[in-house]
């Protein structure tokens, strides 16, 4: 995989009152992710080349990938491939990178979603809608000990665009 071909098409930055270790843990453990990520369980083998899975409530692998860059608690890149038929064949691989930096007493978390080809705003709307909700929840969880229930409607705009490309969606 040639990294240079991947361009960030969605970037979201959020500052969190927590340690970098805590933010890393919240991003990579099921115990945390279930609380802020609509019940999804993040399962990661903590090493370069390890498996990265986002498991749905029914136990299925919603997202499967591998750990592509592993530098705890500073930087993590995973392949983030949604397991819908033909999706990866038609949209290419998605890379998600988390950068975790100290900013005074807070931590700056920057999520970049990178793709190896241009994608329409409709296709990208799924992530652009989802990431702010996911990362707002993560921040609240780490700062207040409680994650708010952010109930997201299905990403209709993205689902329609995927359907138009012949990608089967649930």
């Amino acid at each position: 995989m040639n990294l240079d071909q991947f361009k960030p098409l969605t970037v979201y930055t959020i500052y969190i009152a927590a340690t970098r270790d805590k933010v890393w843990e919240a991003l990579t453990s099921a115990e945390f992710s279930r609380k802020y990520f609509s019940g999804f369980a993040v399962e990661m083998e903590p090493r370069l080349g390890g498996k990265f899975i986002v498991r749905a409530l029914d136990g299925s692998e919603h997202i499967s990938g591998d750990v592509f860059e592993y530098d705890p608690p500073n930087r993590l890149t995973v392949t983030w491939n949604v397991n819908w038929p033909d999706l990866v064949a038609k949209l290419g691989t998605t890379l998600v990178t988390y950068e975790i930096e100290q900013a005074g007493e807070a931590v700056r978390l920057t999520m970049s979603e990178r793709h190896d080809r241009p994608l329409s705003d409709d296709i990208l709307s799924g992530g652009r809608t989802g990431w702010p909700a996911i990362l707002s929840g993560l921040k609240s969880l780490l700062e207040t000990g409680k994650a708010p229930q952010i109930k997201m409607a299905p990403p209709v705009q993205m689902l329609e665009a995927l359907k138009a490309m012949g990608i089967k969606t649930p």
């Binding site: 009152a17 900013a103 700056r108 707002s136 708010p148």
Partner: protein, 156 residues
């Protein structure tokens, strides 16, 4: 391709009224907006100013005011020479109830292609709005240094 603009969405455990107050009261903004004060009577057509240490850094006028749902003002930088030549931009705050939360969408547009102002604004808003969320949810802002405003990603 999309026109040069900055959009940021955040979900906050608060009420629309409290969020409106946090956006329009200097008591609040001084805490999360790195010391900045907002000055306006928040009526459509009235002047708007942002002050830092008593000095006006940005000014404009109120374009929309529909408390506690929508607020918009024009925004022209006054302080730094290299940003002063940029056109007047616009900030729109949209406040929507979202279950037990409030969804805040900040749209900042009216930039020129390849200008410096969009980059500055794109670095600033995430730090400011993260502080706002912390203040409303836990009664305490984040201790982020002002230099954080100069870092982050370069907006495309």
């Amino acid at each position: 391709m999309s026109k040069p603009q900055f959009v940021y969405v955040t979900y906050i455990e608060t009420t629309p009224t409290r969020l409106w107050e946090a956006l329009t009261s200097s008591e609040f903004t001084k805490q999360y907006w790195f010391g900045a004060e907002v000055r306006s009577d928040w009526k459509i057509g009235s002047p708007f100013a942002l002050l830092l240490d008593g000095e006006t850094t940005d000014s404009g006028e109120i374009l929309e005011a529909d408390p506690p749902r929508r607020l918009s003002y024009s925004f022209k930088h006054q302080k730094y020479e290299e940003l002063r030549g940029e056109p007047i931009s616009r900030v729109v705050f949209t406040i929507e109830p979202f279950g037990s939360l409030v969804r805040l969408t900040v749209l900042h547009d009216g930039f020129v292609e390849g200008g410096k102002y969009l980059g500055a604004v794109s670095n600033g808003w995430p730090a400011i709005l993260s502080g706002l969320k912390s203040l409303l949810e836990r009664g305490k802002v984040l201790a982020i240094p002002r230099t954080a405003l100069n870092k982050g990603f370069d907006a495309k």
